[in-house]
Amino acid sequence: MVVTIKKLGPAGHETFNLTLDEAQAMADTDQGRYFIIDEETTKIVQEVKLRDGQKVMFVPVVQGG
């Protein structure tokens, strides 16, 4: 099983198929810079704990002016 990550960026989103550990490491690294959203529920992933087989989106945190 893998975790599918769609990460939004300048070239459109990139899709990563990662093992749970790799995906969790990416989530931990990008925490604070991205909202991590479950694709099925479109809700934010609580405490950034990913599950095997999960599909998530990394949505960049944007600033207010």
Partner: protein, 164 residues
């Protein structure tokens, strides 16, 4: 050069005649000044010719096939990113909301503060009639920005001030 006036009288009246004396020093001085101005003009002409040649070479380089191919490649990438982003937006908001954005230009949502917001297809978010101030990250395709603005306002609505 020195000036002098002479007078002549004839049956028609009195006439004054202005004469200029050209001294050797005066002639040499005037020639030297003209020569100097010519050199100065030639120097400026050379400078602007060099400037013009440089600009022409730069423009020629920017019009070269390598650059044109790269521009075309980047435009293709941008188009691909835009298409991917549209699909992502459609998947994220759902078909119904996506169609509403396309047709009506906006969709409503409720944020964590319990208030109702409206987002349009440009990613502008409104609380009531007032627009929130959100800085668009550079080069993020527009549909991706719509997703980002929606998620950010939904999760942290009070982070974004109203636009004045």
């Amino acid at each position: 050069m020195s000036e002098s006036f002479k007078f002549s009288v004839n049956d028609k009246g009195l006439f004054s005649v202005k004469e200029k004396k050209l001294s050797l020093r005066g002639i040499l001085g005037k020639r030297a000044r003209i020569q100097s101005k010519i050199l100065e003009a030639q120097e400026k002409l050379r400078h602007w010719q060099t400037e013009l040649d440089g600009l022409q070479r730069e423009l020629e380089a920017l019009n070269s096939p390598v650059v044109n191919d790269w521009i075309q490649h980047m435009e293709q990438l941008k188009l691909g990113a835009e298409k991917k982003a549209q699909e992502l937006l459609r998947g994220f908001v759902g078909e119904l909301a996506y169609q509403k954005i396309q047709k009506q230009g906006y969709v409503n949502f409720t944020a964590k503060d319990g208030l109702h917001y409206k987002i349009n297809r440009k990613g502008h978010v409104f609380r009531g009639e007032k627009q929130l101030c959100i800085i668009r990250p550079s080069e993020l395709p527009l549909p991706d920005f719509v997703v980002a603005a929606l998620v950010n306002v939904r999760e942290s609505p009070r982070k974004f001030p109203l636009r004045r």
